[in-house]
Subunit: 268 residues, 2 copies
DNA sequence: CGCGTTCTTGACTAGCGTCAATGTGAGTGG
DNA sequence: CCACTCACATTGACGCTAGTCAAGAACGCG
């Protein structure tokens, strides 16, 4: 049985991958281009991430790009809103939030990204990132130079198709969030959120019913279009309904079917 | 895994479907005349639509696809949720809404499309349309076979880039809608909506301050995450504040600056 | 002309936001 | 090691925004 904390698995993998110049990475942290290069073909996330669905030759082509790896500390931004768009980023470990900021300072979390998920696709439209990406815990990413990826896509129709499909998936994801924000009440929103997290944890080999949330009540609230107090109250309500057991950020889904059926919706 | 790579099979199927039976589609749609083919190079919408930003040779390539035109009557669906994805559609005239439906019947309008705008990009993710597109008035569209477009993109990097950018733009658009739904009140929502419509009308050569809305109060409400009564009340409130003059679907923006400054936000 | 649909407006209410007090755990420094 | 702070979470009391229900007006359509 997998624990909810990703640390053990993560550590092993990271250790094997970073045989070479680890010190360099740590030393340079986030400043210069990172010295560690990554190969998709040997990555443990290849079935979740960019190369998913690609055949050997295409994955080899991706390998030739040698994506740079970079560590991002908790609270640090990987990129800011308005910053020049050059890379798309794949999460290797850790969790990120994507945030929009209004002129008056109001923030809106537009998504949470976990291992294997891509960030930054919104920057392509205007050449500038349309949102910021902030690490919710110490994290590691692959930086994928869009221009190189784009070149490669001219050679490989399959790769091109994969990229298009990933962008389309992001559109679909946002559709269901709009549904959530536009026509669901507080309990439905939180249930949908938890079920979504649950699925994604499961897809990554973790327990689908017990996990640590990496985001605060305020961040959940922003994402779901409600205030942090309402998030907290709704957690308590679920606990009283014997659907969950909650202790701060640790969540155990007691009645997954109950949660699913009571708030059945198009998921994903 | 396997389902993730539909490319080869899909292409064959779509290709065979494509050549002949488009006549059927049109005939079935509603007693339409023989299929009319369209050239991007001579289209009056070329600066707003797919070919925007492409050079002569690329536009010629698009011309070779000879997109079929189709009329869609008010209230008729161009495609339904769950329907097989084969085409993306460009609006030639008229207005559409994109709609998601929850199992319990609740609907969410995820967007309104005007002349020159594309629909159906969300279908690429899973090979099935993730939303339905319904005409709000008698309309005409170009049906763009995705498989052909995709083939063409392998020859032309610029075209490929344009497609990616259009998808990214859709992501950004949905971002700002999420901001709206997640953190704005009724007046801000309606103001943002009207300013957005205003801009798009202007880009199409119409007045930016006086126009007919093609959607009902209920549809606006669904899009903005509020009830139709609240939409109606907010229109009345704006009228009392001397920002608008409203008569049912006819809107005149009296104080565009007022509307803009009072509810300043990141637009598009 | 009557009918259905859409819009407007009013009265009332529920759900969520706001404000505030208290609890809790992690990190820090003496 | 403990006291302190700070950030975050929980809970209660209250208020307001927007939802609900309902009635009537305006319009288009057959």
């Amino acid at each position: 049985m997998q624990t909810a904390t990703p640390t053990p698995a993560e550590r092993t993998v990271t250790a094997t991958m970073q045989v070479l110049p680890r010190t360099l990475t740590v030393a340079r942290a986030d400043a210069a281009p990172a010295p560690i290069k990554t190969l998709c073909s040997t990555c443990h996330l290849k079935d979740l991430c960019l190369p998913c669905g690609l055949t050997g030759s295409d994955v080899e082509r991706l390998d030739s790009l040698m994506f740079a790896r970079r560590r991002v500390k908790e609270g640090q931004a990987l990129y800011h809103e308005g910053e020049k768009f050059q890379f798309i980023y794949a999460v290797r470990s850790g969790t990120f939030k994507s945030v929009l900021t209004l002129k008056d300072g109001r923030e809106q979390v537009t998504g949470f990204q976990m291992a294997g998920e891509l960030m930054g696709l919104d920057g392509l439209a205007s050449g500038k990132h349309a949102s910021a990406a902030v690490a919710l815990e110490d994290a590691e990413i692959c930086a994928i130079p869009y221009s190189h990826l784009s070149e490669l896509a001219t050679v490989s129709p399959d790769l091109q198709h994969v990229i298009s499909r990933l962008m389309s998936r992001e559109i679909v994801r946002e559709h269901s969030l709009m549904m959530l924000l536009g026509s669901m009440n507080a309990e439905e929103r939180l249930a949908a959120f938890l079920l979504n997290i649950s699925q994604r944890m499961k897809a990554r080999g973790y327990s689908a019913t017990e996990f640590h949330l990496r985001m605060s009540r305020a961040e959940i609230g922003s994402y779901l279009g409600m205030k942090l107090e309402t998030v907290s109250r709704t957690f308590s309500a679920f606990q009283q309904q014997r659907l969950l057991e909650v202790d701060k950020k640790h969540v155990r889904i007691v009645d997954l079917d109950g949660l699913t059926h009571a708030f059945e919706m198009r998921v994903q």
